[in-house]
Assembly symmetry: C2
Amino acid sequence: MRIGILGATGAVGEQMLKVMEERGIDCELRLFASQRSAGRTASFMGRDVELTLCTPQSLRGLDFLLGAAEADVSRELLPMIRESGAVYIDNSSAFRLDPDVPLVIPQINGEDALAHHGVVANPNCSTIITYMALAPVHRLSPLKTLVASTYQAVSGAGKAGLKELEDQVAALSSGQSVTPQVFPAQIAYNCIAQIGSYDSEGYTSEEMKMQNEGRKILHSPDLKVTCTCVRVPVFRSHSISATFETESHVTVEQAENAISAASGVVLMKEPVATPLDTSDQDLIYVSRLRRDLTSENGLSLWCCGDQIRKGAATNAVEIMEYLMAH
Amino acid sequence: MRIGILGATGAVGEQMLKVMEERGIDCELRLFASQRSAGRTASFMGRDVELTLCTPQSLRGLDFLLGAAEADVSRELLPMIRESGAVYIDNSSAFRLDPDVPLVIPQINGEDALAHHGVVANPNCSTIITYMALAPVHRLSPLKTLVASTYQAVSGAGKAGLKELEDQVAALSSGQSVTPQVFPAQIAYNCIAQIGSYDSEGYTSEEMKMQNEGRKILHSPDLKVTCTCVRVPVFRSHSISATFETESHVTVEQAENAISAASGVVLMKEPVATPLDTSDQDLIYVSRLRRDLTSENGLSLWCCGDQIRKGAATNAVEIMEYLMAH
């Protein structure tokens, strides 16, 4: 098996390597990076792998390419990747809503991946974490509406986001002022309710992913979602407060049983799950499951998951494993 | 005018003193504290005021007593305070839902304060901040439902909460581990979706305040609220993501105009308001006002306000000013 990782030096790319190593996916591995990193090496299963540029030659013969590059880079490279014949599992937002590209969370709609035409898209991180928690209930009765507020870690902005929080805390500790660079305002000791750009209605691009990607993953074109995405000073796990309605009544106990039985999700009744608890692992934790007091058929919950792992790298590797197994 | 502050050495008590000074409320000031602090002095308008124990003698002749003590202390001292004849404006949760005690945000239901029988209650901090933002819309068409997720600063747990965040960040910076004391888990670089104790349905005491206090303040006994209260590593301003339905349709523009025209609230369209922007002042900031995509008559917004000031001390002082003026 020949597998490549595009954007191998970023936070998600590095984690893809780590997840593959942990899962013992032995293969001929090729790591692609920008000019700046090409020539360096990374360790994979005890051997050194050189980082190279992504070219028609370096792609030749690949079975799978895991994409951890930005959307514009992904778009630019697509023709070359298609030419190579590799199945491209892309973590960027470039092709997620393309009707010819399956958008897949293997625990929810793995079979959609089988209908690919060379590209499978990995959903947005908050989208993955939220629907991993909600899908077990959706299988009891279809999700109709969702009001979600997120608590998103700085890792969502990659290594630069992690560094910005660290640097700002250090600067403030020594009495220096800070100048935001990655985030639109100081993130240390602050919350920023703006991730992405605004649409004409005042929703951000990040917020609309929760509705539009959710509709595609759940095959629920009428799902209605109001989402508020907020950056918080947490390093790497995202949390989501989700209040949602199903078509028919689902009791708290039925929802608890469904979540407990689902693969990849853990119901943590007490103590409450925190983003810190869930960092550096693949499970999504669900806490605070209770009746929604505003709606007859509503429930409310809190969920947390590692944004770099199940929210990105792990899900992409799991899509590849699904395709390998089927 | 003779005014007392009960719990004068706490985060809220100190801020009551500061707010009174800023507003030039000249008076004979008496500061009450526990045995531990009695005998110390605090400065008020250039003079030193000695901290004393709260006794029938030290209360004698007071016109107003601002309460910044815990609920159990407040309950214990009530008979003595009643005996003194002072109007007691209590920031604790002790009497908020007592039908004989008005629960007041002066900009919303100031006139309720006039019907007091010696005690007026100051609402919960998140409750004040949220309804300051929603009341202008509620006046256009009554609020029916609210789904709120909070981002609450550590100041909500008083000086000990502020110190815990500071100490944990310092400890982690120097490679030491941390042991949570004030909060149920590490708060540095984390979010904790549990504030207060759980009821039989799985809601916390803090969360139910948003519904029960909101019903009383807005005179809306049927208001339904699903709230998720989350502690975040922010020092002193709370933020709330609020999605709400009104009885009839209110356009985004109508809501914007109503909020812009309301006293004590600022509509900040861009950049988005952050808790840091709103710290150490009395205004509530509203951002991200937009249509709720899940409901015909719904709107969604983000609001921030200083939890110690308008969320506690300032609101109590404003209740006193309202009573003085009427």
